[in-house]
């Protein structure tokens, strides 16, 4: 069975309020008229149409967790004390990526070039939230069967660039998730293209009687 799995064209639920917050909206102070809300909401809905979310993930066993590093099955090592703390109770990891595709990126660029900056700004914020919501969706999707197997997926996730988990680790995600196969590129400075793309790692805690495989367990069994 192929280790890297994907979901395409996913329409992920997202919280509109997060987009407003990202744009600086403050419930207690920002004054906004109905017409403006309607317009911004419309732009957000349009963004959703331009986002063609692809979700890519793989499960991988964790060989060891030291004070400042995490070694995965196959020998890949992430040097990060913060990540090591985050994964200290995990025996497997989920590496994952979410990308909103090139259409939304092109549209944001087009809007900027045509001078529609407010719209571009809202599209940009909405696309970021929707892309991130893709990882929320994926984690929720994985969590349920894990619970039914007595396993526990961490409630949060860790992305390259957080704390001491350097952005350069993005290239490891890029390789392990075979992102190039899905038209995603990485620049020499470890920026993913399309820019509305994000990678992350989450941990899976498992009881000691788990039958462990080198590439992590399979999620197919339930209850």
């Amino acid at each position: 069975m192929k280790e890297v799995k994907i979901f395409r064209h996913i329409r992920v639920p997202y919280r509109k309020s997060m987009i407003y917050t990202r744009l600086g909206y403050m419930k207690t102070s920002t004054l906004i008229e109905q017409e403006q809300v309607k317009q911004i909401d419309r732009w957000i809905t349009e963004t959703e149409m331009f986002c063609d979310i692809i979700l890519i993930y793989r499960l991988i066993g964790i060989e060891s967790v030291c004070a400042d590093s995490v070694r995965l099955s196959g020998g890949v090592t992430f040097n990060s004390g913060a990540l090591a703390t985050f994964l200290q109770d995990s025996r497997e990891a989920v590496l994952m990526a979410s990308s909103a595709g090139i259409a939304i990126e092109n549209e944001i660029n087009r809007l900027q070039h045509s001078g529609e900056m407010a719209k571009a700004l809202v599209y940009d914020a909405a696309a970021s939230v929707i892309t991130d919501a893709g990882l929320d969706w994926l984690m929720a999707y994985l969590r349920r069967p894990l619970i039914q197997r007595g396993k526990i997926l961490t409630s949060s996730r860790f992305s390259p660039g957080y704390s001491d988990f350097e952005l350069s680790n993005q290239s490891i995600f890029y390789d392990l998730l075979e992102l190039s196969e899905w038209g995603i590129q990485i620049t020499p400075k470890y920026i993913l293209i399309p820019r509305k793309s994000v990678t992350a790692i989450a941990g899976i805690g498992a009881p000691y009687n788990e039958i462990q495989t080198e590439n992590g367990g399979d999620l197919n069994d339930k209850e």
């Binding site: 979901f7 639920p13 920002t30 900056m117 407010a118 952005l167 367990g217 069994d221 209850e223």
Partner: protein, 796 residues
């Protein structure tokens, strides 16, 4: 057990389900990671023992051990022959149950996504479930349970698979996340409405989180439930303790929720992950034999759903707008697009109408040269994934309606069913099969009756007929049968009589196709608007109309307020009150000033044109209105009264104003250049929207900006500084890997002794970093960049 027997049985008293099977199997020695269905068949005594324990504990229904028993799931574990496995597992459970408990054939997610999100078609998934259903059926199950569903469409596929295979009762339970939605965004009420209308005999939730959150869901569902409600929660959430998975809720605490669940309206209760016979025994002691609540609300509430949203129509609620624009009749552009197979215009019309206030979208695909059934299917498929608004399928073709209803992931409205025999024979059964609501049209094979009395007779006759299919008044919208007054002026009054009768005597919701009234007349909007107000006074529930016609929407809102349907006129006031954007009370400004403050580009240009025509000097417009306005916008932003989109919209309005005025400005106004700024996203970084916003703001505040773009090498920046004798370099970087480029630029400026200031900004940058690399300022946002630029150039 028949469906009716099940319903009576479930409403008679609280019924007890089993608890977790998987964790019990693991305790009995099943290794984690194996295929449970296969392992149980190799160790049949284990499941028989567990299920007998559950029955001893009080379970009246036990689930077959077939949670992962559909063909797709089994295949992932390398197991073929789903039919045989399900049959044998059902037989084991029947053996365990004997005559002491019912056995429910357990069906759960395939783990695959359907089109357009996955590779499987809806029909393929239905077929996968049918194979499992047949196995369970032949194994002797008494009923079915579809559980742990995360995707409403997959739940529908499973439910249809059971319905199309047998007449046994089916319970459907969904799994909701912490926020109260499935992972695909379906809320509990939407799931209930969709599933109970499609024929589920009990609906509820299982797994999810603990009983606490599930209790809240049951409370919310009860007023809308027409079927028994099911709760099968986990024993809290799992955690790892010393390498062992434990659930955080003990049996006593778990059983403590039994009473609140009964009070909330649950009819069938059990346990999911982490529970055991001990949990069920304690729940059973509290709940078994107790009288549960029946249906608590039998009022005339019509509820429609999409996959993520419900719309409730009540005679006491504001008029519900059904958007009429997705109809190729008389719309050449839409017709041409549909013929080409393009859904762009359909999507645009849908979004526009939703923005304009439509709560339901009427979809009609009938036109010459278009295969109506195929087109209605495509439009339904497209809109149901893109738009959350429920659909009204407008067709007289049973085939078109059946194809669309089958894949529609919610409860649709059908437009329409009349007293015509062909409609009753062909469309009514289709509507009933999929649980669609429908518009009841008061006409029959003799045509449209002239008088309200005759129309009412048809309504009564049709209603008697549809009742045989299980329909109630909650499931229909009665059409007043509006005809144009151009041919029969009294038709409007007859239609109003029908509406009034429905509202006051028949107690059903009503609808009108508003534009019919004015067909053939000039200035139709006035006739439509006047009639809408008249119909509202008679109690109209819904109007099929174009929400893009503002006059109609104004009349609708006003009518809702005047008929007290808009309680305390809240919606009316919210729509029509201005919040003044924080403008100082009593302060009077030119409309041009407000146009900038409000960020209205069109308004700005029209105001400038008017002012120029009146002879106002262009420079005066800039100095007296535009600059004070954009300055005030900056203050609003600083105070948090404006957020970024508002700031940028005002900046865009300002930019439009300045571009328009440029040819008129003979001499420099106060908006003359404050300084020259080189703007760039540093080498290696390709993010530029923040930088572009800074550029827009700086230009608006009178700076001359040289935007070098993104991924700009240090040399290019330094060369440009020399070329234009820049005052400031403004650098942007979003990533930690690229922010170091700022240091390189700062060092070059220093080493070459250039008299230029540096401002840095971007997500990865902060004040400390700015100080560390020797930059002159850090700007947290675009407005701060303007303020820093003014400070550094001495222009503030």
């Amino acid at each position: 057990m028949t469906k009716n027997e099940f319903r009576e049985w479930a409403f008679e008293q609280i019924r007890i389900l089993d608890g977790a099977t998987g964790t019990q199997l693991q305790k009995a020695g099943m290794p984690i990671g194996v295929c449970p269905e296969k392992w149980v068949l190799q160790n049949p005594e284990t499941i028989i023992k567990i299920q007998k324990e559950y029955i001893e504990s009080g379970s009246e229904i036990i689930y077959t051990c077939t949670l992962g028993g559909n063909g797709l799931k089994l295949k992932e574990s390398g197991v073929e022959d789903a039919y045989r496995i399900n049959k044998e597992l059902a037989e084991l459970s029947k053996k365990a149950a004997g005559s002491r408990a019912f056995v429910a054939g357990d069906i759960a997610p395939t783990g695959q996504l359907m089109e357009p999100f996955g590779t499987y078609t809806f029909e393929e998934i239905v077929d996968v479930y049918k194979e499992q259903v047949n196995g369970l059926l032949d194994g002797g199950v008494d009923l079915f349970v579809i559980e742990t569903m995360m995707d409403i469409q997959e739940a529908r596929a499973a439910l249809l698979a059971v319905k199309e295979t047998c007449d046994l009762p089916v319970m459907v339970t969904m799994t909701f996340e912490r926020g109260g939605h499935t992972i695909n965004g379906t809320d509990p009420l939407t799931a209930l409405v969709t599933l109970q209308s499609l024929g589920a005999d009990a609906v509820g939730c299982n797994c999810s989180t603990g009983p606490e959150q599930m209790l809240e869901i049951i409370k919310k569902l009860k007023p809308f439930a027409k079927v028994p409600l099911v709760a099968k929660p986990n024993a809290g959430m799992p955690k790892l303790v010393n390498g062992v998975t434990v659930f955080d809720m003990g049996d006593d605490e778990f059983a403590g929720f039994a009473q609140p669940f009964i009070e909330a309206g649950v009819n069938i209760i059990g346990g999911c992950c982490g529970t055991s016979p001990a949990y069920i025994e304690k729940v059973s002691k509290i709940a078994k034999g107790r009288k549960g609540k029946g249906i608590v609300n039998e009022g005339s509430t019509l509820i429609l759903s999409s996959s993520r949203k419900t719309v409730t129509i009540e005679r006491t609620s504001p008029i519900c707008v059904i958007g009429e624009r997705i109809n190729p009749t008389g719309k050449k552009r839409l017709r041409d697009e549909l013929r080409k197979g393009s859904m762009d215009l359909v999507t645009e019309y849908a979004m526009d109408q939703v923005d304009e206030g439509a709560q339901i979208l009427d979809v009609n695909a009938g036109a010459p040269g278009i295969d109506e059934a195929a087109m209605l299917f495509e439009i339904t498929k497209t809109l149901s994934t893109m738009i959350q608004t429920p659909l009204c399928l407008d067709s007289s073709s049973p085939k078109a309606l059946e194809q669309a209803l089958r894949i529609y992931p919610g409860r649709a409205l059908i437009n329409s069913i009349s007293g015509e025999q062909i409609k009753l024979d062909k469309i009514l059964p289709v509507a009933a099969k999929y649980g669609a609501a429908f518009i009841l049209l008061p006409l029959d094979d003799n045509g449209v009756p002239e008088t309200a009395e005759d129309r009412i007779e048809i309504i009564k006759k049709v209603y008697e007929k549809v009742k045989q299919y299980g329909y109630t008044k909650d499931d229909i919208l009665v059409d007043g049968m509006l005809m144009t007054i151009a041919s029969n002026q009294s038709s409007s009054l007859e239609a109003l009589k029908v509406i009034k009768w429905c509202n006051e005597e028949f107690y059903a919701n009503t609808v009108m196709g508003l534009s019919n009234i004015s067909f053939g007349l000039p200035e139709r909007t006035w006739i439509n608007a006047a009639f809408l107000a008249m119909a509202a006074s008679c109690g109209l529930s819904c109007a099929i109309m174009n929400p893009g016609v503002e006059a109609l929407m104004h009349i609708k809102r006003a009518s809702d307020a005047l008929t007290s349907k808009d309680i305390n006129s809240i919606a009316y006031i919210k729509t029509y009150s201005k919040n003044n954007n924080g403008k100082t009370a009593g302060e009077q400004h030119n409309p041009l000033y407000y146009a900038v403050v409000d960020g209205s580009r069109e308004e700005v240009i029209s105001r400038i044109k008017a002012a120029l025509n009146e002879g106002t000097p262009p420079a005066e417009l800039v100095d007296n209105y535009l600059i004070p306005a954009i300055t005030y916008v900056g203050e609003l932003y600083q105070k948090g009264k404006y957020f970024l989109p508002q700031l940028i919209q005002s900046a865009e309005a300002m930019k439009s104003a300045m571009s328009f005025l440029q040819p008129y400005l003979e001499t420099e106004s106060a908006a003359g250049k404050k300084g020259r700024i080189i703007l760039a996203t540093v080498k290696g970084d390709i993010h530029d929207i923040g930088k572009n916003i800074v550029g827009l703001m700086l230009k608006n505040y009178g700076f001359e900006v040289f935007d070098l773009g993104k991924d700009v090498p240090c040399d290019e920046i330094i060369n440009k500084v020399r070329e234009v004798d820049a005052d400031i370099i403004a650098l942007s970087a979003l990533m930690t890997t690229t922010m170091e480029e700022m240091r390189i630029v700062a060092e070059r400026v220093k080493s070459e002794n250039l008299q230029v200031k540096i401002i840095v900004g971007g997500a990865a940058v902060d004040q400390n970093f700015a100080v560390e690399i020797g930059a002159d300022a850090y700007a947290a946002d675009a407005y701060a960049a303007v303020k820093e630029a003014e400070r550094l150039t001495g222009c503030c």
